[in-house]
Amino acid sequence: MTQDENDIILLAHGSGGKLSHELVENRFLPFLSNPVLAKLDDSAVFEVGGRIAFTTDSYVVNPLFFPGGDIGKLAVCGTVNDLSMSGAVPLYMSLALIIEEGLPMKELEQVLQSIKATADETGTQIITGDTKVVSHGQADKLFINTAGIGIVPDDINVSGAGARIGDKIILSGTIGDHGIAIMSLREGLKFSVPVESDCQPLNKLVQQMLEVSSTIRCLRDPTRGGLATTLNEIATQSQKGIFINEAAVPVKEAVRAACELLGLDPLYIANEGKLVAVVESSEADKILASMKRNLCGKDAAIIGEITAEHAGKTIMKTRLGSSRMLDMLSGDLLPRIC
């Protein structure tokens, strides 16, 4: 066996003893160090002022590395995006890892590297953390939990409940990329144009949008459950109707092809770097134009509007001009048999 193959996570790395300390000092700090974290106290102590947004999420993905990202990037983007969707400027994050024994150290370092790069890109700092190692079979390689804190500027109030009749709905780009990237990897599907996950931080895009308009009522990132589920959440929360035009929803050709093959619907497939915004109708074009200037929003489009009819429901005009209900995802997404 080579040196590298022996360099794996052992149960003892989670014992709290010498190996644990070594793991933190030699593997974690080199990537993540900042003045607060480096103190290695039991809690991070820091100052913030104003209204605070606070969120947490756990990340489980198989495989750990996929085209367009990995679990580390996903964990940072997920929390940064959740904070951004409440209009907050993300500042600090916690990072907790549950590692299955046997994980190659090299893979762990790759994940940490990507956490570091994404945190830097978003201007956030990891200021507290934890690691547990579990025995073989009790976890699938690596689970991550992150929590994040951000500040919400005084004049910003975005919430699903804020949607008003006549407001426009903007989607920041193509849907289904993340889910299809993962699924095609798992199913061994190859496409002439490979689908990459859209995993990306949206905080800069959101800041830019909030700068050009004060009429952004609601922001959401359509992750698990896809666009259809997010729209239904907004409809329920606001008790308004939602009407969208399927033909206006951008979907990459490769994603559409994969969906046809697997019998799936892009409207229900997970995204990791897209947002839905509900905005005042008269400002919609201006906001759209500013989104298109950001790489994360270059394919942004107005896909529908808020209606008085069908309160609490989402209605879709299909590609063929007929209309129907668009329900939330129920159960799991499963490829067809026939």
């Binding site: 050709e253 019998g263 299909t318 001009g321 129907r324 209900m325 129920s330 499963l334 048999i337």
Partner: protein, 368 residues
């Protein structure tokens, strides 16, 4: 950008729909055999584009739905045997059998794993040599060849702990059984696109030749289906039923010969029970005696309680095309995708699930 094209779909669909309306003069009933077609029809609201004299009925083309309770019960019983791993496609796990479901068996400790393909099931068998790994083989001519390939692979690699509970079904015999029963008068049939990729169009030619019923094979894009309906209406109006391929980008009359060869190497036709339809001669696939060491039905002897049906559920009628989901009193009320009572509400290819998920806004209260 490619997605702009969809606006043109809209225009083309309108054109085909108005051609259909002009051409169609008499009330007709068309059956889409395949659950995938039912879903596309509902998803794109195609019925809204068709004139009122054209009625669409879904047929027995959902593999999960047509699996008889006795077969489901067997799968559940197998999962409860010690030292076994049952592998299955995801939809199956939630389908209620006579007394329980695979999902409930799993909660009680059975090792049941969802797989996306037989390759995954084989991999599980390779990694767990001390356990019996049973794959629940459901599906039509589309999946049977892949299962046959897995069995041949297991034989070649000497994976002795792998076996298959074959509940595979063949589509032409069941279409014949439906037409023979005369229970529902069908004027035209949309034949199953994916199945015909394997079988070719020939096994379906009897529909027009012997029963004088219009038939065409369709793909799964909304325009494919509209075009297929157009062809069927034309055949009916002209009184000239024949087999037409409206999916020529994928179908050859003789089908996919290597896949058929694989299937016929491992399986042979046998009488089998379809939910709601009963025993249909030579409509199932059983594993040939040569491969019986991979046949879970032969390896494991289990005593089964007699299967029973939930009387309130009308899946049987729906699969025979004698009723539509909205005619079931439980539809959308006691029975929803979250709390399904019958398989047609569970499966992603089930008619009830399609009617429910894609119901029209105007009629949301009576859920049509």
């Amino acid at each position: 950008m490619k997605f702009v094209d969809e606006y043109q779909d809209n225009e083309l669909a309108g054109k085909i729909a108005s051609e259909i309306a002009t051409l169609s003069t008499i009330p007709i009933k068309l059956m889409e055999f395949c659950g995938g077609h039912t879903h596309a029809i509902m998803r794109y609201g195609l019925r809204q584009l068709l004139p009122e004299n054209i009625e669409m009925r879904s047929g027995p083309g959902c593999p999960v739905c047509v699996t008889a309770n006795a077969d489901l019960d067997k799968a559940i019983a197998l999962s409860l045997l010690p030292n076994t791993i049952v592998t299955t496609f995801g939809d199956m796990i939630r389908v209620p059998g006579s007394y329980s479901s695979l999902q409930q068996a799993r909660a009680r400790g059975a090792d049941i794993r969802i797989v996306y393909s037989t390759t995954d099931a084989l991999e599980i068998a390779r990694n767990n040599p001390e356990k019996a790994v049973i794959f629940i083989g459901i599906g039509f001519e589309t999946t049977a060849p892949t299962v046959a390939a897995a069995i041949l692979r297991a034989q070649k690699e000497g994976i002795e702990n792998f076996s298959v509970l074959s509940c595979h079904k063949l589509t032409p015999p069941v279409i014949r059984a439906l037409l023979e029963s005369g229970e529902v008068k069908i004027d035209g049939i949309i034949c199953p696109g994916h199945v015909c990729v394997i079988t070719g169009s020939r096994p379906y030619e009897f529909i027009s030749r012997e029963y004088k019923i219009a038939c065409a094979i369709s793909g799964f894009e909304p325009l494919d289906i509209l075009l297929c309906v157009y062809k069927l209406v034309k055949q009916i109006e002209n009184g000239s039923p024949r087999m037409e391929i409206a999916y020529s980008r994928a179908i050859k009359p003789e089908g996919n010969k290597p896949a058929l060869k694989l299937m016929n190497e491992v399986f042979e036709p046998a009488d089998t029970v379809w939910r709601g339809i009963g025993t249909v001669p030579c409509s199932g696939l059983r594993i040939k005696a040569t491969y019986q060491c991979f046949d879970a039905a032969k390896i494991f002897k289990i005593n089964m309680k007699p299967a029973r049906e939930n009387k309130a559920c009308r899946c049987g009628d729906i699969l025979r095309a004698t009723a539509t989901p909205v005619e079931c009193p439980l539809f959308g009320k006691a029975c929803t995708p979250e709390k399904p009572i019958g398989p047609c509400m569970v499966s992603s290819e089930g008619a009830c699930a399609a009617y429910y998920q894609y119901r029209r806004p105007e009629k949301e209260h009576d859920a049509a």
